[in-house]
């Protein structure tokens, strides 16, 4: 399974903070299980989610708590987080 986390405004818009995705659900879309494929999978679950995830080009991605690009491959057991640009400090 892949653990998917959403933070801040993205979590509020999606209405969910955490969900689990099976790696099989991604390989069913593409044999290269990148973050882009995960977003495609999530978008297909719910038209509103699709709008939210695809409308915001500034979304940041972390795999196992390290920032990555959207073409990075996800492996089974990974923790993937999607969140808006950070605003601390």
């Amino acid at each position: 399974m892949i653990k998917v986390l959403f933070f801040a405004s993205l979590r509020d818009k999606l209405g969910v903070s955490e969900l689990a995705v099976s790696i099989d659900q991604l390989t069913a879309i593409s044999h290269e299980t990148s973050v882009e494929v995960l977003v495609k999978h999530l978008s297909s679950q719910n038209a509103q989610w699709g709008d939210i995830l695809n409308s915001d080009a500034s979304l940041l991605i972390a795999i196992n708590q390290t920032m990555v690009e959207s073409n990075t491959v996800i492996h089974d057991g990974d923790e993937v987080a999607l969140f808006p640009p950070v605003t601390g400090g």
């Binding site: 708590q65 390290t66 920032m67 969140f83 808006p84 950070v86 605003t87 601390g88």
Partner: protein
């Protein structure tokens, strides 16, 4: 280096205690620079008038936030010779005028202490996973990232 303090916490921090620690770890250091960020009681950006803010909520990504801060401090230590570094960032509900963040650097020369503390703040602002929601008069609102912060971080590159 093992004496670096990197903490994310809900409680307020003591500026005095953090300064005293930096001073006691100073070694050959003759220069201490501290930065403290306070919660402002208004919101403003280019597009809207100032609006009163009655408080903020700071969200973070437990685990990743701490390791992100550690990476930023490690980057600073690669660039400058530093005796001691402390970074404390608060999360949760904060009131106007509350202390949000402390960055303290002790080094042998003032140039390194000024630059490293400034660098750490610029990177923290754009790299460390914290998100701020303002309690505005018109309702709660997640704060948008600022282009000026992105530019501030970029100027340390190349």
């Amino acid at each position: 280096m093992s004496d670096d303090i990197i903490v994310v916490q809900e409680e307020d921090f003591s500026h005095t205690q953090l300064y005293d620690q930096l001073r006691s770890y100073s070694g050959q250091g003759g220069a201490i620079v501290t930065f403290t960020g306070l919660v402002r009681d208004f919101h403003s950006d280019e597009n809207v008038d100032r609006e009163t803010v009655s408080g903020i909520f700071l969200e973070y990504y437990p685990g990743m936030t701490e390791s992100s801060l550690k990476s930023i401090v490690a980057l600073a230590r690669e660039r400058w010779s530093l005796c001691a570094v402390s970074v404390v960032h608060r999360v949760g509900e904060l009131q106007p005028k509350d202390q949000i963040v402390f960055v303290g650097v002790c080094s042998e020369h003032r140039q390194a202490a000024f630059e490293a503390s400034h660098f750490i703040m610029d990177y923290l602002k754009t790299q460390a996973p914290f998100w701020k929601k303002e309690r505005r008069a018109s309702g709660d609102c997640w704060v948008d990232a600022k282009t000026s912060d992105t530019l501030a971080a970029q100027r340390w590159k190349g």
